[in-house]
């Protein structure tokens, strides 16, 4: 398609990046024609040669364009997100935003898990940590606590109970150096020692 003078002038201004609005749209609409391609090539060649004469000697542009065109046909442009206007550049950390969202959700999940765990412990009653912090001995023996626990049954060897009852006065200190209701510490020491 041969372009008229007005259209070529539009392309000239487009080559300089000096079009806006309707004229820009008109010029872009012309870009599909062979006449526009030829004008576009000439205008840029002139500018390149004026700036650097050695640029007149490039390879066969038509061949390059054909090869690129063939490659473009095989590789379609992937779908792109909406591009922001040039006047409003996106924040520099935009690419990290997704990772920051992931990190935020991970932190939230961790806090929720810790909170849930703490709530469960509180609902079970006074935690062992509180007893230890009080520095007071437990009111009852561990055996009694287990006995008061209700319907829970513990299967254990009665001979062990007899042994513990017989040698209670010789019981050594717990390895924890303080009462611990959840541990049974059995020590056997021979009478002659």
């Amino acid at each position: 398609m041969e372009l008229d003078e007005k259209q070529r002038e539009l392309l000239s201004a487009l080559a300089d990046g000096e079009l806006q609005g309707d004229e820009l749209a008109q010029a872009l609409a012309l870009c599909g024609s062979d006449g526009a391609t030829a004008c576009w090539r000439d205008y840029h060649l002139i500018g390149d040669v004026l700036r650097a004469p050695e640029l007149a000697g490039s390879s066969d542009s038509a061949r390059l364009l054909l090869r690129v065109r063939g490659a473009m046909a095989e590789v379609p442009v992937p779908a792109a997100p909406a591009m922001p206007p040039p006047g409003l550049p996106p924040a520099a950390n935009d690419p990290l935003f997704r990772w920051k969202m992931v990190a935020g959700f991970a932190s939230l999940a961790a806090v929720a898990a810790i909170g849930w765990n703490s709530l469960s412990v509180l609902q079970e009653g006074t935690p062992q940590g509180a007893q230890l912090a009080s520095g007071q001995p437990p009111r009852t023996a561990a055996v009694t606590e287990m006995a008061q626990a209700g319907p829970q049954t513990m299967l254990r060897d009665p001979r062990l109970d007899e042994l513990l009852a017989a040698h209670k006065q010789y019981g050594g200190a717990s390895a924890l150096q303080m009462p611990a209701g959840f541990l049974r510490n059995a020590t056997f020491e021979a009478p002659q020692r």
């Binding site: 300089d16 806006q20 820009l24 090539r41 000697g57 490039s58 061949r63």
Partner: protein, 213 residues
């Protein structure tokens, strides 16, 4: 004499046109991307030619550069000029091609301290490639001569307008201020200057290697 081509050359301001063409390319208009190829092909090839010894590689690397750019177009966000973005792709593509070939890249750092651009011993000579025949070299020289002759033949106001635009890189507004005329007049003068030069160059382009386009 400094070699300004080893760094991204100063490009007259045209970010909006390039950005629009990129957007159209992403939307599926391949002709829009072809215009970008036409626009930047010569500069990209010169850049690559200064990185590789064997200029036979230049067209292939240039092609790969534009294909990579096409594939990555959606990543171009308009924060930098399109040519700056393309320049990086070209440099990376050339380096990768040379690594693939197990060759040593010859990168000219024109701005590197201590670099003597006039010292011929510091720059390996480019080998003449199959693409760069004596005929093509001669044709390029003829084109350059024709452009310069056409420039000399232009009326003063047209020559001044196109010089301020193409060589000095001024915007239409700046040219209008410098020439004390309306912006519309600047646009018309630049267009007429280009038409006059193109009328002398186009037959040479079409006769070169049969038909270049």
């Amino acid at each position: 004499m400094t070699d300004s081509s080893s760094v991204a050359p100063a490009e007259p301001r045209a970010p909006d046109a390039d950005f629009e063409l990129v957007q159209r390319s992403i939307a599926g208009d391949q002709r829009a991307f072809e215009l970008l190829v036409i626009k930047y092909q010569r500069r990209i090839e010169r850049l690559i030619a200064r990185m590789v010894r064997d200029t036979d590689l230049v067209p292939d690397i240039a092609q790969e550069t534009f294909i990579r750019a096409y594939r990555a177009l959606h990543q171009f966000r308009g924060e930098a000029q399109f040519y700056t973005w393309l320049y990086r792709i070209a440099v990376n593509t050339a380096k990768k091609a040379l690594l693939d070939l197990k060759r040593n890249p010859v990168v000219y750092e024109g701005a590197a301290p201590g670099g003597d651009e006039d010292d011929e011993t510091s720059r390996p000579r480019r080998e003449q490639s199959t693409e760069e025949t004596p005929e093509t070299v001669l044709a390029a020289q003829e084109i350059a001569r024709a452009v310069n002759a056409a420039m000399e033949a232009l009326p003063v106001d047209l020559r001044q307008a196109v010089t301020l635009r193409e060589i000095e890189g001024l915007s239409y507004e700046e040219i209008a201020e410098a020439m004390d005329c309306p912006i519309g007049t600047v646009r018309s003068r630049i267009f007429r200057a280009r038409e006059a030069i193109s009328a002398r160059v186009r037959p040479m382009l079409e006769n070169q290697s049969g038909k270049r386009w």
